[in-house]
Amino acid sequence: MVRYLLSKIAEAIIAVWGVLTIVFFVTRVLGDPATLLLPIGATADQLDALRDQLGLNRPVVEQYIHYLTMIVRGDFGMSFQFQRPAMEVVLERMPATLELAFSAIVLGTIFGLVAGTVAALNRGRLAELIVMVFALLGQATPVFWLGIMFILFFSVELGWLPTGGRGTLAHTVLPAMTLAIFVCASIARLLRSSLLDVLREDYVRTARAKGLLPGTIFVWHVARNALIPVVTMIGIVMGELLGGSVVTETVFAWPGIGRLIIQAIEAKDFPVIQAGVMLIAFIFVAINLLIDLTYGFLDPRIRERR
């Protein structure tokens, strides 16, 4: 078990390092931050002096090695635009991102599980059709369109909920709902097909042959096995939500990390881009490590293999 954990952690470190490396080199192609940091009319000399100060005139590989040595010491560099440690800027935004991602996951998972179950257990009936149509629509609707519609309807028309920003629970509802719809749709579809697969398994027939009550069969024999792929998917969706809710964060003025990174991309604030993406990668990897461990609860075979 310890060895398993260690090797998983090593894999995680490799993944984070890989992400970091890719981001580092892609950002170097991104352009020149100096032109954006200095006011209009700055002279060529001033621009060059700033590049020097930011260490951007050195060869890229040298910058990379320097950056890695800094990271090992826990220093993620100074943000160009905030004049503060980049990791500090990023960490500040983390709670907002986590709040949104978790609310969306929780909401989406709950509704997705219910909808998927309803669809699977009502194979061929109207309920299945309705769930599947909604799930397909949920996956087929661009998020920003949905978000703007929600704002127009719930905030402007009805005045029930704030249009954006973060603060009270009310602020979380719309963005979380927007994201949750996609999550819910994916989970519902996956769970439905997964349930249908499990329902065909021989051991479900055995359970019926034992005369068990339908509830018992569903909870103990069907649900648990059907959840395994769903759990994998939740891990991946979580990754998408951590970094990928950029669009939702933009529409709802949500001060999350995705938005921050976009802003940093616009401003060519390399240290913030790097720190932000790295943090997301780190959290993603950590969550998936946890999920890996939860497999053990769902499936003892995996537990044993460690």
Binding site: L36, L37, L38, T43, V156, T250
Partner: protein, 476 residues
């Protein structure tokens, strides 16, 4: 919202609260202007107003003298005297600090404390725009700064102090009880960051915010019709133009450049895209508020026939592709305008390709790679509203310049050292005429400064980017 508070929407988040580390008027400096004092401020009418400096004058060509308001202090009691101002100027010029706005003051050679309330600033060359530049220069408390990080912490010396700062979301200010100047109308001011234009307007309509700027012109009528808020627009100081890269064929050809100016229906764009709420450029980069504005120039009329003639005359091979670059989502409806320009150029027989490019990449191309496309739609504004700054960007040797016209450069050099107002204006008139005749750029229109305000407040709309609570008043 309570009656004595106001909420303002910003497009981008506040990055730093250090006044010397940002030149972004629309966000950082606007918020900072509530917290820290400035010697001089610019009013909504775009005229300079005394603030900490009660008066200022040029004592000689190379010396400015400022008289300060007595009794001004920071909230921690630090005195706001000549020494404090000097300390701030020194800080900006200190290489180790690396102030981002250092470039504004590169002509300043030293600040001399004459007495507590008098400060002399010596410049290496005559610097007529210094006072205008100071309207963007805010002062930190010297002692406090030594032990604090001004990027995130504040010590108020202005009308407001920071009550709450949630990075990326909002920053809330409340009135500074110790303010030495005139107290503001609103006790609380909140700046909320709302990046998405549609969401900003929705927030205005939902009554969550009191002021948004950069409203698409088509939305103005709708906002007004809704009765929830009102919207309008005035001329800004930002001139939209299609910058020409004279280094690329066929842009070195004057007839060709003129043809471009004739081919574009500026009036049509203004009326169709901006509902008539923008003003067509008078064949120059400057508009009325600018020092050095040339009232005698008239726009190239829309004359596609003439344009075709000129094109034929120019002898340019029209089958080559003319690329137009435009930074994405940077200028009000800039992408739409670009598409119209493209189709109008096609109308007169050109082959046109649009490239939308992210603003940072655009700047990189313009300044670092120096490889702009033949045409680049952009807006230029010089925050001190001064011809020298604006025009110098087209003078040879400047990083922004793609024209490389020695004659133009010589006129500007001369104007810069001319202290006599009329003589200077005459020189600027020559410079702008030259630019117009040479069709050094495709002059378009003044970008409208659009805004929407809630029914609760009155706002003195302004053509530059400042958004300030003290330009607002509650509606009685």
């Amino acid at each position: 919202q309570s009656a004595d508070s106001v909420t303002i929407a910003l497009r981008v988040a506040v990055n730093t609260l250090d006044p010397h580390m940002s030149a972004s008027v629309g966000s950082d400096l606007s918020v900072i202007s509530h917290i820290y004092p400035a010697l001089i401020l610019r009013g909504p009418d775009l005229k300079l107003q005394p603030s900490l400096a009660q008066s200022w004058e040029m004592v000689d060509d190379n010396t400015w003298r400022f008289k300060l308001t007595p009794g001004a202090t920071f909230a921690n009691g630090e005195k706001l005297d000549a020494a404090a101002v000097k300390w701030n100027l020194d800080r900006v010029l200190d290489k180790d600090v690396g102030a981002r706005i250092a470039g504004w003051f590169s002509l300043v050679s030293e600040a001399v404390v004459v007495d507590d309330l008098t400060l002399d600033v010596k410049t290496s060359e005559p610097y007529p725009a210094f006072a205008d530049q100071l309207s963007m220069f805010f002062l930190l408390p010297p002692e406090w700064t030594k032990s604090h990080n001004p990027a995130t912490e504040t010590m108020s010396g202005g009308p407001y102090k920071v009550a709450e700062n949630v990075p990326g979301d909002h920053i809330t200010l409340e009135a500074n009880p110790d303010y030495w100047g005139e107290a503001a109308d609103f006790r609380r001011v909140t700046f909320r960051t709302i990046p998405e234009s549609g969401s900003r307007i929705a927030a205005l309509m939902a009554g969550e915010i009191d002021l948004v700027t950069g409203v698409p012109t088509t939305e103005i009528a709708r906002i007004n019709a809704s009765g929830e808020a009102s919207a309008d627009s005035i001329d800004s100081i930002r001139m939209m133009l299609a910058k020409i890269n004279h280094q690329k064929t066929p842009m070195e050809n004057r007839s060709f450049r003129q043809a471009l100016n004739y081919a574009i229906d500026k009036e049509g764009i203004v009326s169709a895209i901006f509902d008539g709420k923008a003003t067509v450029a008078n064949c120059q980069l400057l508009s009325e508020p600018y020092v050095g504005y040339n009232p005698d120039l008239k726009p190239y009329p829309y004359d596609p026939e003439k344009a075709r003639e000129l094109l034929a005359e120019s002898g340019v091979d029209l089958s080559q592709e003319i690329e137009i670059e435009v930074p994405t989502a940077t200028y009000l409806q800039g992408d739409e305008v670009t598409q119209i320009i493209a189709s109008q150029l096609q109308e007169v027989g050109l082959k046109v390709k649009i490239t939308e490019i992210e603003f940072g990449a655009f700047m990189n191309k313009q300044l670092r790679a120096r490889d702009l496309a033949q045409l680049a739609v952009q807006g230029l504004a010089w925050p001190t509203i001064d011809a020298d700054g604006m025009l110098t960007m087209f003078a040879p040797g400047n990083v922004y310049d793609y024209w490389n016209n020695a004659e133009f450069g010589a006129i500007l050099d001369k104007a810069r050292v001319t202290t006599d107002k009329d003589a200077r204006n005459a020189l600027y008139a020559d410079a702008t005429r030259l630019m117009c005749d040479e069709a050094a750029a495709v002059f378009l229109y003044l970008m409208p400064a659009t805004y929407g305000v809630s029914k609760r407040i009155e706002w003195a709309a302004r053509g530059d980017d400042w958004v300030r609570a003290f330009d607002m008043k509650p509606v009685q």
